[in-house]
């Protein structure tokens, strides 16, 4: 597989100019994630009103895959219900970990489908899913650091 199928334009764009890449004052939920293999660190902030994620942002440093994934995640879940965000996580996770030929919910994922190529690069699955794990930890009201080694 060509490496350009991994590094799609939308991923390169979000790596270069990530969206919602800032501290969120007044976040009701936050969590930090850490990948001990590379030392990358990411923080996700969520402002919840009732059941809705009214605002989401992230900070930290990482590779193009992890940064773009965090950026696209914040875009995808902002304004969505908690349940919807969790469903997206499930679909995203099963897409990036799908075995060759296995059906995925790629079509329901919108821009997040850009990460479909990640499954061909097992060493990079953790990069793509880190921000989602951190989001999940934040929504659990978990303020501890999650790692990709869980």
């Amino acid at each position: 597989m060509d490496v350009r199928e991994l590094y799609q334009q939308v991923i390169l764009d979000h790596n270069r100019r990530p969206k919602n890449f800032q501290l969120l004052d007044g976040a009701s939920h936050r969590a930090e994630g850490y990948n001990p293999l590379c030392g990358d660190r990411i923080e996700v902030y969520v402002e919840m009103k009732g059941d809705v994620l009214t605002d989401v942002s992230f900070q930290g440093s990482g590779c193009a895959i992890s940064k773009a994934s965090a950026s696209l995640m914040t875009e995808a879940i902002k304004g969505k219900s908690r349940r919807h965000a969790e469903e997206l996580f499930e679909s995203f996770h099963s897409m990036v970990t799908a075995r060759p030929g296995e059906a995925t919910k790629k079509n329901e994922l919108g821009k997040l489908a850009a990460f479909d190529g990640v499954r061909e690069f097992p060493a990079r699955v953790k990069c793509a899913s880190l921000s989602w794990h951190v989001l999940k930890a934040a929504l659990r009201c978990n303020s501890e650091t999650v790692t990709t080694e869980e």
Partner: protein, 407 residues
């Protein structure tokens, strides 16, 4: 110019129908193995396999002889004091932990200082931190200069604290820096300290004499010097080992076992509890034979040649930054390219069949001082050549092209 042509000895580097060609540039993490080593391990299991030092039958005698021959080869290869001062371990990490736990617990007390360096691998940092915590001792980390050399002024300052031990590497795994041991070790001894040298990156690449350098403890791994995984050694002054308490208890390391207490075997057996990795030792012996056949000086010359070739070729790539010193460096090249994350570089290179390491290289204190979280690292060994450098450079140019697209 590169001078060696031994690629054909390494089965894993042969492209075949199923496998892509591998350009292996991660020997600082683990080296590939020549057929001679693989054959020696296989031959051991096929014709000499049995436990050592106990059976009265011929096989056991043969296995014991091979195991002890390997110990002699190690002693000669690293210029040890004598073969009683060579303890087989799983590798560098276990050798360092042996010293920290045995020598350390008896000699480092509350209020003492242990000196380590910011240039070292976690395996020569964490055991000392653990020891200091247990004993109530202090850890003093020696700083590095901006170009990644040990700060000798700071080392002198640290030695004024009269540390019990100084633990440092010979060659940095992250940057390739070669520490000036002939200059440093007398200073350490004058300060009354014992010195432990992590030789994981020197044993494979630099002709070393532990006794000429006056090293008290020298630790290294077989798998980084063409040998099998799971074998390495602690090479030490026999008189130090004689005084030390065992690290692990079990079979092999005893003289006589009573109901309440036991007496211990003499060195080296005292530190080799349990069935040793005999096949590993035999494989390490074969690796030493292989390295000796080429000659350590020829290996150093070859690697220096590739390093300079790579430094020159990579300097053509705009935005490429090399970490580490200009002089006195082994065949290790740590670098960054623009603001491309090292893991992304590694992925792009992997698609070209090039294996490099991306990460903190188990040297987080050093990474903090360099102001980075990670670097990309290419490291060279006997089987690398000019064409490998060219493929690396082209892969980096491709990465640059991919990642500059959105600029």
């Amino acid at each position: 110019m590169t001078t060696l042509d031994v690629k054909a000895d390494f089965p894993i580097l042969e492209p075949d129908a199923e496998r892509r060609r591998i350009i292996y540039l991660d020997s600082a993490a683990s080296s590939q193995k020549p057929r001679q080593v693989l054959d020696a391990v296989r031959r051991f299991y096929e014709v000499s396999n049995s436990n050592v030092h106990r059976g009265a039958y011929d096989l056991a005698v043969r296995a014991t002889k091979l195991y002890e021959e390997a110990r002699c080869k190690v002693t000669e290869f690293v210029g040890g004091y004598d073969s009683r001062g060579v303890i087989f371990t799983r590798g560098t990490t276990e050798a360092i932990n042996l010293v920290a736990n045995s020598w350390g617990r008896d000699n480092v007390r509350a209020g003492d200082t242990v000196v380590i360096t910011a240039l070292d691998h976690h395996s020569n940092i964490v055991p000392w931190q653990m020891l200091a915590k247990q004993q109530g001792a202090a850890v003093r980390m020696v700083e590095v200069t901006e170009d990644g050399r040990l700060d000798l002024e700071d080392l002198r300052a640290a030695l004024k604290l009269r540390p019990k031990i100084v633990a440092l590497n010979y060659v940095s795994n992250a940057l390739g820096t070669i520490n000036p041991l002939p200059e440093i070790i007398p200073l350490i001894h004058e300060a009354g300290a014992v010195v432990l040298v992590d030789g994981a990156q020197s044993a494979p690449h630099i002709a070393t004499s532990v006794s000429d350098l006056d090293i008290d403890f020298y630790a290294f791994s077989g798998h980084k010097m063409l040998g099998p995984m799971g074998i390495g050694a602690l090479v030490a002054r026999p008189e130090l080992l004689d005084e030390m308490n065992p690290y692990q208890g079990g079979g092999e390391m005893i003289q006589e076992v009573g109901d309440e207490q036991s007496t211990y075997a003499d060195i080296p057996a005292k530190f080799e509890a349990g069935t040793p990795n005999v096949a590993g030792a035999v494989g390490l012996g074969a690796a030493i034979d292989y390295l000796n056949d080429i000659g350590m000086d020829a290996i150093h010359e070859h690697e220096t040649g590739i390093l300079h070739l790579a430094l020159e070729r990579l300097s053509d790539i705009p935005g490429l930054k090399v970490f580490g010193p200009d002089e006195e460096r082994a065949g290790v090249l740590s670098f960054a390219l623009d603001d491309i994350h090292p893991h992304d570089l590694a992925t792009v290179l992997d698609q070209e069949g090039v294996a490099i390491r991306a990460g903190h290289h188990c040297t987080q204190p050093l990474m903090r001082r360099l102001g980075v979280q990670s670097t990309a690292r290419a490291s060279f060994y006997v089987y690398n050549d000019e064409s490998d450098v060219e493929v690396l450079a082209c892969g980096l140019e491709k990465a640059k092209e991919i990642f500059s697209y959105a600029a």
